[in-house]
């Protein structure tokens, strides 16, 4: 058995001729937080639905807890809490009654309902009908529902959708705590990297149904490039010198840009100064994770 709690092989889902998910190999290690990223329509929700057996893969295989989902669906789902896309709820019932239904299905003690209500701060409104809830409150209810019984695996599809900034913060903190406190494995999807950057150990980036990156955030950072920005006097001589050193240089707004190359800034400075060129400004710009994310998803778009 591998160490992956979620493992898919060549997962494909077609809607007619359109492949919403096209050959995804998802690998989520046990006890970690996995950020599942991709722009709108990339296929995140479709993938998560397949992980839950809500929709059947056109091809490929889903393994959870090292066992095929197809033949162990009920046993596996007992250990999985989830919220896919918008939260589902019974509007004519109260928050408490909604959670109580899930609690009964999972055969948990009544105290669990109170516990999760507390966790998402809905205790005060637990007897209110859910159709009268605000979007953020429904979202919290959905998360509470997913947390019932402390599942070993938690699948959250854009959990902070519709939450206010403090709510986003709160849920992020909550998710971050889970692996430490309960050993839970969490998969969180989002279309914004910064949303999961602070909590995820691993990320998977999908684009048009294909996985274009999977690994640690550190691995993702390496994919970024840095640019050296120089303002020197006289500019022409500096340009000639740098080009002689073998670098490509762009001139923009009266500054020199040396993109995507490994240049040692200190070394560069020394060389210019030694050639009697005065350096007024020298800085290195590293891509932020967000920029890396945007550039890899954009690159793929062009293909």
């Amino acid at each position: 058995m591998s160490n992956y709690l979620i493992e898919t092989n060549g997962l494909i889902k077609s809607f007619g001729n359109f492949k919403a998910v096209n050959g995804i190999d998802l690998k989520v290690p046990k006890g970690e937080i996995y950020g599942f990223l991709g722009p709108n329509g990339a296929g995140k929700s479709t993938t998560i639905r397949m992980l839950l057996g809500l929709i059947k893969p056109t091809q490929g295989m889903v393994q959870l807890f090292g066992r095929p989902l197809k033949s162990n669906r009920l046993d596996i789902l007992k250990k999985v809490g989830s919220m896919v896309e918008s939260p589902s709820y019974y509007g004519h019932l109260s928050a408490y009654e909604n959670l109580n239904i899930t609690r009964k299905i999972l055969e948990l003690p009544k105290s669990e309902v109170d516990r999760v209500l507390q966790v998402v701060r809905l205790t005060e409104v637990k007897d209110k009908l859910v159709k009268k809830f605000s979007l953020g409150m429904k979202q919290r209810l959905g998360i509470a529902q997913a947390l019932l019984g402390n599942p070993e695996l938690l699948l959250l599809d854009e959990p902070t959708n519709g939450l206010d900034p403090s709510g986003i913060h709160e849920i992020r903190d909550l998710i971050k705590r889970l692996p430490f406190e309960t050993g839970m494995t969490v998969l969180v999807s989002s279309h914004i990297l910064s949303e999961v950057e602070l909590i995820a150990d691993q990320v998977g980036v999908i684009q048009k149904g294909e996985m274009i990156f999977q690994g640690t955030l550190q691995d993702l950072r390496v994919k970024g490039s840095s640019t050296l920005i120089i303002d020197a006097n006289p500019m022409e001589r500096a340009l000639v010198h740098i080009e002689q050193m073998g670098y490509t240089v762009q001139v923009r707004d009266g500054r020199l840009y040396i993109p995507e190359q490994t240049v040692d800034p200190a070394e560069m400075n020394k060389k210019l100064v030694m050639n009697n060129i005065s350096v007024r400004h020298l800085s290195e710009h590293r891509d932020t994770l967000e920029e890396i994310f945007l550039s890899i998803t954009r690159e793929d778009l062009k293909r």
Partner: protein, 241 residues
């Protein structure tokens, strides 16, 4: 399965279904009472007129309407806010859900018929019909109407579960019930139109199955089994989008 039933019951607890399943049959019984009042003094057997007055309303429209509403609301509870998605993300067997929904539907339908018969008895007593209640007519026949409605129940359940918009089962149920009285008048074609069966089984004097009772009840049983099975097969494998 008991658990699944209990859970289904929790879901309908707060809905208006129970009120509806009580109120509509009582309304039909009231019609019977009013009809019998008109006949008072002119006719001997008032029970007969209570029954007739109520059943012309009940078998033709009120009962099919009740079936339509009950089954579409039971399904709508899940369709409405993506309940299927959450339900099937939990460890539940799809067939258990399917059958417990059908059973809850049946329970409500049977409940409404019990209310109806009680209503008929109260109506009869209040208009002063004689003391011996003709149970075979007042109690037995309404239950026979349930059997005659099996195809309607199966079709409505199928449509309700299949289409996420509640308008579809409502339109099918009401649209097909409306012309049933007309078609029931046709000695030749009524047998092809299941919405006439409750009328035929209830108003034997006027319509009667004309020797086709056996065919009718066979069709009822068979179509129910076949349609329910097809519905289940589709339901078990369908993608929850």
């Amino acid at each position: 399965m008991i658990k699944a039933l209990h859970i289904e019951f929790l879901k309908i607890k707060r809905s208006k279904l129970l009120i509806l399943a009580t109120f509509l049959p009582l309304f039909a019984a009231l019609q019977g009472g009013l009809f019998a009042v008109d006949m008072k003094g002119k006719e001997e057997d008032l029970w007969h007129f209570v029954y007739l007055g109520a059943m012309t309303q009940f078998s033709w429209f009120i009962f099919p309407l009740l079936i339509t509403i009950i089954l579409s609301i039971i399904a709508r509870i899940e369709h409405h806010h993506d309940g299927w998605k959450q339900l099937f993300s939990l460890p539940v067997e799809r067939e258990n859900v399917y059958f417990s929904k059908l059973l809850i539907g049946f329970a409500l339908i049977i409940y409404s018929v019990i209310v109806y018969t009680v209503g008929l008895i109260i109506a009869g007593i209040s208009v002063g019909a004689d003391s011996s209640i003709p149970y075979d007519m007042i109690v037995q026949r309404p239950f026979l109407v349930i059997v005659a409605s099996l195809p309607i129940i199966a079709i409505q359940f199928y449509v309700s579960m299949r289409f996420s918009h509640v308008g579809v089962p409502l339109m099918v149920g009401i649209g097909l019930a409306l012309p049933s009285m007309l078609i029931a008048n046709s000695a030749k074609y009524w047998i092809y139109y299941p919405w006439t069966y409750p009328i035929t089984s209830a108003l034997t004097d006027t319509f009667g199955p004309l020797g086709k009772a056996e065919i009718m009840y066979t069709v009822c049983g068979l179509s129910f089994v076949v349609i329910t099975a097809i519905g289940l097969i589709q339901f078990r494998t369908k993608d929850i989008i």
